[in-house]
């Protein structure tokens, strides 16, 4: 994806990357990442249109309920999630180093 992901989009990508094989559905995913439908669905649409997400319909829904739309990361999505994870760990490392540097300077 050319554009930088928002923190909410990164959260959704992270949540999907936790278990990339399992198909997830929107409401459950929203509950997990703490996003409401108004925020979650535009993110899912963008991820899907960016090729990071594949979707499918539930094949065997229980009686009385329509089939749910299910999502999981594509290979590209998994790669993006991995890059995002390493970038955020780099950022965290930089932050820790920065804090340590400040602490050292203030001690001296």
């Amino acid at each position: 994806m050319g554009r930088r992901l928002s923190p909410q989009s990164s959260g959704v990508l992270d949540a999907l990357a936790d278990d990339p094989i399992t198909w997830r559905y929107g409401y459950e995913l929203g509950q997990q990442v703490g996003l409401r439908a108004g925020t979650l669905y535009p993110i899912l649409m963008r991820l899907s249109e960016g090729g990071l997400l594949e979707d499918s319909w539930e094949s065997d829904p229980p009686a009385g309920r329509p089939p749910r739309h299910l999502y999981r990361l594509t290979a590209l999505g998994q790669q993006a999630a991995a890059e995002l994870g390493s970038a955020s760990s780099d950022a965290a490392t930089h932050s820790v180093r920065g804090i340590q540097g400040l602490a050292t300077r203030s001690a001296s």
Partner: protein, 242 residues
């Protein structure tokens, strides 16, 4: 939008979402079905409303401009009528004019959502043009009726009790005709193109005939004695004959 799934939970939140989903562009229509499916699985009413409201917000972030126009134009038409008829002194006439445009607007909005009248979504510009053109023409006629009746001149009681209700039924039937004609369940492109072509041909033929030989001959007065002793065939009030 047709009710693609007929389950038990058709409450107000589900109906609200059903009416919002057609605002999605065609390329994102499956997301609307996804939202409807999720909503069908939710329990308490408050959760359902929160979810449906969130979905509506998501849809309204990037709606289909055509679908948004199809929603806003009828609503704007009703609002305009309410304002235009604000000065109508005879209250029943005021109300019946507003009722007329509400009925027409509601029928048009149902055209996108009632299964029988749902328009073809892909590859039918002719159907779309006929539908929108027909609706705009009827809207124009209805606007003319509103403007000519709003002053409250003449027999307002007859207008309110008979005239405007008859117009409502006639325009409503025409609109239902347009909706039915442009529904893929009832017509294909070839039928529509032929229908439009024949309609234009009939209008041109009628106009040519009307211009060549006036269907109503000029009125002349005969056989009534003129009190002034003049020739009744030449002037003065009298019996009109054709």
């Amino acid at each position: 939008m047709s009710r693609w799934w007929a389950g038990d939970r058709r409450d107000a939140a589900a109906l609200f979402l059903d009416w919002t989903v057609p605002l999605l562009p065609d390329t994102r229509r499956q997301w609307g079905r996804a939202m409807q499916a999720e909503l069908a699985g939710l329990g308490p009413s408050a959760d359902r409303w929160r979810f449906a409201g969130g979905c509506a917000l998501a849809i309204l972030r990037r709606p289909s401009l055509g679908a948004l126009g199809a929603l806003l134009v009828p609503v704007g038409f009703v609002v305009a009528t309410v304002r235009l008829t604000a000065g109508t002194a005879y209250l029943p006439l005021h109300l019946v004019l507003i009722a007329m445009v509400i009925v027409l607007a509601a029928l048009y909005l149902c055209g996108d959502r009632v299964e029988l009248f749902v328009p073809r979504r892909t590859g039918s510009h002719v159907a779309g043009a006929v539908r929108v053109g027909g609706a705009l023409t009827l809207g124009w006629l209805a606007l003319g009726i509103v403007l000519s009746h709003r002053s409250g001149d003449g027999n307002v009681v007859d207008r309110a009790s008979t005239g405007v209700p008859i117009f409502t039924v006639l325009l409503g039937l025409c609109l239902v005709g347009f909706l039915a004609l442009t529904s893929p369940a009832l017509a294909d492109n070839r039928v529509l193109t032929r229908g439009v072509g024949l309609g234009v041909l009939a209008a041109v033929a009628w106009l040519a005939t009307a211009l060549a030989a006036l269907p109503i001959p000029p009125v002349k007065c005969v056989g009534v004695p003129d009190p002034g002793g003049r020739d009744p065939d030449r002037s003065g009030p009298g019996r009109a004959t054709r």
